[in-house]
């Protein structure tokens, strides 16, 4: 199929932006409801069930409420930054989704359209760049409110997000080494041709998910809100729509994080055990692999949505399972555990890849399986040896053990 003409490219880009962002905004609105429903389910309550059947119209009711509520600006607040902060939190959270491939390429009468808003040559670095900008909204929101609780939340946000950005970047180095590229469609293609990276890069997934939980300030790491310590953290002083914008930014980050986990480690839009969706476009515009069709695009989009939805659920599941860390524990986990271990992991995997290349094994299923074996060993090592019953069982085991000894003896 021929490459798109300039006009077709512009039109397709506009249509993609409209469709993907509309769906995405609806998903973000739905996630706010899903969070409350999942919370209710885990705590054995009903959750919101008054607005519409099963409470499905609750996000709309929330939106109307937030629009018509009175807006309060605290005295002594820095007005410009107070107004700008929610926007600065929301903008990066929304733009990041542009580089994530959503489905297999869609054939149209004007040419093959890739279902991704912007296939940037820097791919993941764009995600990292915008994720690092998200901290300004939180920090400045806390500072501009002229309140000590907000301020503490803002300072915590800047320290925590800088620390975990390093761990986040390092945890993805193994993927770049394996894929030899940083663009996300290329990673999806490579996972289709070998194994999903969750197997050969299991330990990397552990590091990535922990750092991304911290980067999005979700529950075990939500030190910036910490309602038992800081009232409501950096957005204590915010009300009405500005508060809603902070919440939308948080849920947008949550959806993006889930989509990234699905793309990096679970094959993106790939449908497992089926080669009919292995479609890719070579550099000269030729289509490689299966023949594109509209129903394949729909099926792969559904596959992507299912994976993303699962990780959104995992985020909520963790929120209602793991208690909040203490602030110094968060920092020492980032600097003293995650960063050194990621560096060691990069070194081990680099050596393993050099050895595999030297042994003449081509990149493919066998290559990935050899790395999987190494990762299983490393994972077992991390869980049973490095942990020494501290992180997984928590600090309580020291008190629990004498009691157990007594009850046994």
């Amino acid at each position: 199929m021929e490459p798109l003409s300039t006009t077709a490219f512009l039109v397709s880009a506009a249509v993609k932006v409209l469709v993907i962002f509309t769906v995405w905004l609806l998903v973000v609105a739905g996630v706010t409801l899903a969070e409350r429903k999942v919370a209710a389910w885990i705590q054995d309550r009903s959750g919101p069930n008054r607005v519409g059947p099963w409470g499905v119209l609750q996000p709309i009711a929330d939106g109307i409420k937030n629009f018509v509520k009175e807006e309060h600006i605290p005295g002594g607040a820095s007005r410009i930054l107070f107004h700008l902060a929610p926007v600065m939190a929301m903008f990066p959270a929304f733009v990041v989704f542009a580089v994530i491939p959503v489905a297999a390429p869609l054939p149209t009468p004007w040419g093959l359209v890739e279902v991704i808003i912007a296939d940037l040559p820097i791919g993941f670095l764009f995600v990292l760049a915008l994720a690092s900008l998200g901290v300004y909204g939180l920090t400045l929101g806390g500072w501009a409110s002229n309140s000590k609780y907000s301020f503490l939340g803002g300072v915590r946000a800047s320290a925590q997000m800088i620390s975990y950005e390093v761990a986040l970047g390092l945890s993805l180095v193994p993927i770049f080494m394996l894929a030899g590229n940083v663009t996300l469609p290329e990673m999806v293609r490579q996972q289709q041709n070998s194994l999903w990276y969750i197997l050969p890069l299991m330990v990397g997934f552990l590091f990535f998910s922990v750092s991304y939980f911290a980067e999005t300030n979700r529950m075990p790491f939500d030190m910036v809100e910490a309602e038992s310590e800081l009232v409501y953290g950096f957005h204590t002083e915010y009300s009405a729509m500005k508060f809603a914008m902070f919440m939308m930014a948080e849920y947008a980050n949550l959806v993006t994080a889930s989509a990234l986990m699905a793309t990096f480690f679970f094959g993106g839009w790939d449908i497992p055990f089926w080669t009919g969706d292995n479609i890719s476009v070579a550099a000269d515009g030729a289509v490689v692999g299966a023949v594109p069709a509209w129903w394949i695009t729909l099926l792969t989009a559904a596959s992507f949505a299912a994976k993303t939805g699962f990780f959104i659920f995992v985020f909520m599941w963790v929120r209602w399972t793991v208690p909040r860390f203490r602030y110094d524990q968060v920092m020492s986990l980032g600097w003293k555990v995650l960063i050194p271990m990621s560096v060691v992991y990069v070194a081990i995997l680099g050596a393993a890849m050099l050895a595999l290349d030297a042994a003449g094994i081509e990149f493919g299923v066998r290559y990935a399986l050899s790395l999987t074996a190494i990762n299983v060993v490393l994972m077992a090592g991390i869980v049973f040896w490095l942990d020494r019953r501290r992180i997984i069982l928590g600090a309580a085991w020291r008190q629990v053990r004498p009691q157990q000894a007594r009850s046994r003896g």
């Binding site: 764009f126 760049a129 920090t139 803002g154 800047s158 997000m161 970047g169 590229n181 940083v182």
Partner: protein, 170 residues
Amino acid sequence: MDISQLVFYLFAGVAVASGVLMITRKNPVYSAMYLVLTLFSVAAIYVLLDAHFLAALQIVIYAGAILVLFLFVIMLLNLGHDFVPDLRGKFWWFVGIGLGLVLFAELFVLARNAPEASGPDVLAPLLRSQGAVGAVAEPLFENYVVAVEVTGVLLLVAMVGAVVIAKRKV
């Protein structure tokens, strides 16, 4: 006018304006935010030059990490209330203006002697064959590997020094 030229003038204007605002604001938090805006606009100009990797690094490192640290320090120490201008007296004004003129002269010299092997025409085939990261990484780790390693050691020394100073009992 070409659309990329329009984009260039937009971002160049924003970069210069926010640069001027950065040094004239009295509140250091606003200054830091204008510096972020400057860095962001410069990153956009890098993208126009097809230097995608440089643009990403500019945002990740400068706008995303270093400026957040600046902001952290400004906010934590509550700086900027006892405001004293850095340029005190006529002498320092002249020094400042003189240094500014030297920088301007350097710009003109650079504009005259711009290297020919640069710009999107040269970069585009390189980007296609090696990707945005490879085009930077390959010369860095092949032709300039000694310089990279030496810089790494230098940064390590600085880091150890910072830790030693921070650990010293006062």
